[in-house]
Symmetry: C3
Subunit: 156 residues, 3 copies
């Protein structure tokens, strides 16, 4: 898949993007430095602006966690569209930190964060849509969201 197809691919997937979130504190949701686009930690914003809430292994099961990670990915796409316009302006994913809010016994963080990574692979392709990653369990997340993800992208 060619990068120039990212927006076409997005349209084919029939995805609905939530509104791009404003900052919840003193930070920028998005910052461009040279050919890199940095995204702040994003949560799973829904179309009605509410957040998906709950801890995985307690309030949500693993499949709900993976869907929440996908929703985080959609929220990140919304921020990208708001700040740089078209998705094909992203050349590739460099790095993702997938933060999972789960019980201490939870062991399948990579499966959960795949919900976001598979979305990015569908948009930008398996080569450029996939970067390095850590997918790990946190003690707690803001507003008790199940997943938060920050990322660094390379621009075209």
């Amino acid at each position: 898949m060619n990068n120039n197809n990212a927006d076409e691919q997005f349209a084919l997937l029939g995805l609905s993007l939530p509104p791009a979130p404003g900052p919840l504190g003193v930070y920028k949701p998005c910052l461009i430095e040279g050919k890199f686009l940095y995204l702040s930690g994003h949560g799973p914003v829904q179309d009605d602006k509410t957040l998906i809430i709950g801890r995985i292994g307690k309030d949500l099961d693993i499949e709900q966690g993976k869907l929440a990670a996908r929703q985080v990915g959609l929220t990140m796409l919304s921020t990208i569209r708001t700040h740089v316009g078209e998705l094909h302006k992203i050349k590739r994913v460099i790095k993702i930190l997938g933060m999972v809010n789960c019980v201490p016994e939870f062991e399948r963080h990579p499966y959960v964060i795949n919900g976001c990574s598979e979305l990015f692979a569908a948009i930008w392709g398996e080569e450029n849509g996939v970067g390095v990653r850590s997918a790990v369990g946190f003690g707690s997340l803001p507003d008790n969201i199940p997943v938060e993800i920050e990322a660094i992208f390379e621009l075209q």
Copy 2:
């Protein structure tokens, strides 16, 4: 506010900087690569070199947590001064990771980390002193400090 005012702004705020901490392990507190300055995770060092200690939601309340994050910010400024001299050599904040040591029920990590971010905004201005950020809850932090923050800055 102009970046060249950072040191003047610092003086106007009447801030007292704690001593710059040495490494607690095999790492550098600060590293420069090209036009970027990387800071290791910093804790809340006080003027007498002791650390603020305690978990937020158990030993410390949210306002004490925010003050601890501000003290982390002052400790980071101390490291910057020690390594590059004047604060105006920083062009802008690129990225901050705000690590909060709190009970699993805690939900207001962004409010806590604002203690550092508001300090940086006061020093370098609301445009250059504010970058992307994640502010999230960890399971534990070294020496049971309430807040640890790492950062990437762009140099002039």
Copy 3:
């Protein structure tokens, strides 16, 4: 120590490298961008491909944790060798995030992560093998591994 000695130093240490792990999800273990090499979060892979498992302070003691961090370092070296060939192609360590899976009362994360950092210092020297670092406690890690580490290196 000169960087060009990294592979010689490696041989002198008589180290055995585990097999380089494939991705456990939708990510790349290693990505090169310009003169930087990014490594995804790595776990402690052993020579027989199994992982060291357990939480520090519950299943493993602090010395076992430090050995696990060293094993993570060896696993990272294996990935580097697989992707760029010789270890001397690394100029220096820029940044490490040391993620420790431990009980909430644990306070000595830097000591644990030194297991990896001391290995890197032995390979690339105390100046180039040591970068900035955060070593902190997570709520849980994939497969209940005790340590996961991600890193950014500068290439020659």
